[in-house]
């Protein structure tokens, strides 16, 4: 028998359910939240991103992701056993829409040595899916989640010991597009930074085992974009055309370091910091990407050339591998960027009190033309090389350079700062490359000097020099090209250097 009290209790128990039902019904009518249809997600390997989602409704998305433990190069001559989501590091890019119901199938390949799971930061639920996806080798786990929050999320393996699984390459990105979609752009790319901890130091050849102690101390040997040194360099660099709007989905797998992501020579027009859906800042030079976090950046490329992606914790870029490239093709825009216009002798007048600014007009004399400027301050010798000026103005990376123009561009960007554009070097400081007796006699040693650097006394054209030439961060092709260029251009010599010779020298340290 019901007492009034019980009746009230019963109604009050049911009331929220009824209210909820009303809300649900009202939401479903005319809303895009209703799950319609089923589709299999198309995943991509970095640096590529699946196309934007055009459907205007939520759907059930089936994702098949296979874990494989594979041996791949970490750098030239260096191999590592990567634990991967989808066969590659970083893991496959997953793209779904806000409101989608995702049925996740995690397959652990039978050849795997260890069990794995997946924690997707896009999941609302215990362990981000990790607790439901723990999978022995040769098995498959299935779990489902609703993509409630739009944004760009990291996913990773969380099996014990979690640090090791991440350190071995188990991370990737999942983009949950907002219902209304993201503004259209011309190109989208996927770039993910991470570190590797190896028993051998950077560049030590062979299959390198993981170093527990280095990982705990957070001193990686490698900091890379997209899983290996040079994964975004040369032929594999990102491509774009002048005028295009680029969107980069940037992730940081860690396991330890925070990235100061920067593109040399570009300013991010918009940054969705930390991978959220609010474009939180305009005109950003460097954006922080936390370990286990992400960022979305957008910019329009206005001028052609090669733009370098770095972690601006800069030793990581030049000594540990955190360097990528974006090659932009198209027409120059001299009003935005001129290229090098002049290269003049500078006598040190600024610190000696003289000025090259006209006190009446305020004009800088330099703008009147290089030669006038030079004749006023120096011995009258001009170092403008019209050929080089033209080359510089052309913009490197404009098209795939042939061997001689590669040599020239490497010389301009790397060597000329010390050895000068004319190859004469600097008395007592930098040895000349022009008509150098040392170069004529020492081809092998020349290659070695560029590859490994050189310290100590050297006699060139009867003059002693005693300085340091740093090791140059150039690849085999670049070194071969620039040395061939130096022999031809400055020594009128037919000596050529082949990339294979450089490779040999590099190995024989």
């Amino acid at each position: 028998m019901f007492t009034p009290f019980q009746t009230i209790k019963l109604v009050s128990k049911k009331l929220p359910a009824i209210l909820l039902a009303i809300i649900l019904i009202s939401c479903e009518s005319g809303s895009s939240d209703e799950i319609v249809g089923v589709e299999h997600a198309k995943l991509t390997q970095a640096p590529f991103v699946p196309p934007p989602i055009t459907r205007g409704h939520a759907t059930k998305v089936i994702i098949d992701l296979e874990v494989r433990e594979v041996v791949k190069p970490l750098s030239e001559e260096v191999e590592y056993v990567f634990w991967t989501f989808g066969g590659d590091v970083p893991g496959s890019f997953i793209r779904v829409r806000e409101g989608d119901l995702i049925e996740f199938h995690l397959h652990n390949h039978p050849t795997s040595k260890v069990p794995h799971n997946i924690d997707l930061h896009a999941v609302t639920g215990p362990g981000g899916g990790a607790a439901s996806s723990f999978t022995a080798p040769g098995h498959t786990s299935i779990f489902s989640f609703k993509a409630i929050n739009p944004g760009l999320y990291v996913y990773h393996c969380a099996t014990a010991p979690v640090g090791l699984h991440i350190a071995n390459g188990m991370y990737g990105l999942i983009l949950v597009e907002p219902k209304e979609g993201l503004p259209p752009v011309d190109k989208e790319y996927y770039v993910m930074q991470s570190e590797f901890y190896t028993e051998g130091s950077y560049g030590t050849p062979g299959l390198q085992p993981f170093s527990t102690s280095k990982a705990i101390e957070e001193t990686p040997d490698y900091v890379v974009f997209n899983g290996s040194v040079g994964a975004l360099v040369g032929d594999k660099s990102l491509k774009a055309n002048v005028g295009e709007k680029i969107r980069l989905y940037i992730g940081n797998g860690g396991p330890n370091l925070i990235s100061s992501f920067h593109v040399i020579g570009e300013i991010f027009d918009l940054v969705y910091s930390e991978g959220g859906t609010l474009a939180s800042q305009k005109n950003v030079q460097t954006t922080l990407v936390p370990a286990g976090g992400s960022a979305i950046v957008e910019f329009t490329v206005d001028v052609p050339g090669r733009f370098i992606l770095v972690d601006h914790s800069i030793f990581r870029a030049f000594n540990k591998g955190a360097l990528g490239m974006l090659d932009v093709k198209g027409k120059d825009n001299k009003t935005i960027y001129s290229g090098k216009q002049a290269d003049n002798i500078y006598s040190g007048y600024l610190s000696s009190g003289e000025s090259n600014v006209n006190p009446i007009t305020g004009e800088i004399n330099n703008q009147n033309g290089g030669s006038e400027y030079v004749s006023k301050f120096s011995n009258g010798e001009t170092t403008i090389d019209p050929e080089l000026l033209e080359a510089a103005n052309k913009g490197e990376g404009n098209s795939k350079p042939d061997f001689s123009s590669l040599g020239q561009s490497v010389y301009t960007s790397t060597c000329a700062a010390c050895h000068q554009n004319d190859g004469k070097g600097m008395p007592n400081v930098f040895p000349p490359l022009l008509n150098s007796d040392w170069l004529k006699k020492n081809k092998e040693a020349a290659i070695k000097t560029v590859v490994h650097g050189r310290t100590g006394e050297i006699v060139v054209n009867n003059k002693k020099f005693n300085g340091v030439m740093p090791q140059q961060n150039l690849n085999d092709d670049q070194i071969a090209a620039v040395l061939t260029y130096v022999y031809k251009k400055f020594n009128n010599s037919n000596v050529t250097v082949a990339p294979e010779e450089v490779k040999k020298t590099r190995k024989s340290k």
Binding site: K113, G127, A130, A136, P137, A158, A160, V162
Partner: protein, 270 residues
């Protein structure tokens, strides 16, 4: 001391020594004695239980081989590849064998048998009058390096173990005995295969390792009884994780087993 007694004592000593040698000989073929001691598990059930006493036991010198297991299934047909019940072994059971009676070209008879379930391994041992080792027994025997019953104090030893995990699965497993023996005379405890344990399901890893490590930290650091090197013992973490990803009917390519037997004073093991 009386010279006669001296000689008698010497004789007795010699007799003992000879006897010990004989006893060792009788067990060397198959099993060796692992002398009991204290083992500190990586994961424990409650904070008071930070170490476990392991009694002396006999352990197979080698992991069970394909040839051994072929003999077993021949005399126990219900464990043949084609006959085994799905309840007791999943569909990758003996996956690399050619058929019920033949191993196939890629399989060395002297390599450890893998793709066997816990049920099959358990029954194999029982048929020999043995049993599967407990996790504590297996871990205790496995912590011995070549020269030390507790090699885990040696960082180089740990690093060597970890290197196996840093290598991809071999296309075909090598023969038993090729990795080397440890202090107890047991071969290939690390670097050849994973091995089943009787109570493999008792490990504490849930698959959500960060929760586990929090749990573990509370228990361990709270009781202050475990030194920090255990946190660096990544190979142990991985074995625990591996065991907890399994169910008793699972079979995987790198998972095999060996058997043990209780040690009783005055009893000889054949």
């Amino acid at each position: 001391m009386n010279p006669v007694i001296k000689i008698l004592l010497l004789f007795l000593f010699l007799y003992e020594a000879v006897d010990v040698t004989a006893q060792n000989k009788s067990v060397t073929n198959k099993m060796v004695l692992v002398k009991g001691g204290i083992y500190k598990p990586l994961y424990v059930n409650d904070s008071s239980e930070t170490s476990v006493k392991v009694n002396s036991f006999y352990m197979d010198r080698y992991a069970v081989t394909n040839a051994d297991f072929l003999k077993f299934v021949t005399s126990n047909p219900k464990w043949k590849k084609s006959k085994v019940k799905k309840l007791f072994a999943d569909k990758s059971y003996l996956m690399q064998w050619k058929n019920d009676e033949q191993l196939g070209e890629n399989i060395l008879p002297k390599a450890p048998v893998t793709n066997v379930s816990w049920f099959a391994a358990k029954e194999y041992c029982e048929c020999q009058g043995k049993r599967l080792p407990t996790v504590a027994e297996w871990e205790y025997a496995a912590q011995a390096s070549e020269i030390n019953p507790n090699g885990y104090e040696d960082e180089n030893y740990l690093r060597k173990i970890l290197e196996w995990y840093s290598k991809p699965s071999a296309d075909r497993l090598p023969k038993i005995g090729t990795i080397g023996k440890n202090y107890w005379g047991v071969y290939d405890m690390h670097g050849l295969i994973w091995e089943w344990a009787q109570d493999f399901f008792s490990a504490f890893v849930t698959g959500e390792s960060r929760g586990d490590s929090g749990l573990e930290r509370n228990l361990f650091c709270g009781s202050g009884s475990v030194n920090s090197s255990d946190f660096k013992n990544y190979s142990a973490f991985m074995r625990y994780a591996f065991r907890s990803s399994l169910k008793a009917n699972y079979t995987t390519r790198n998972l095999g087993f060996r058997c043990v037997k209780d040690y009783h004073k005055n009893e000889r093991v054949k």
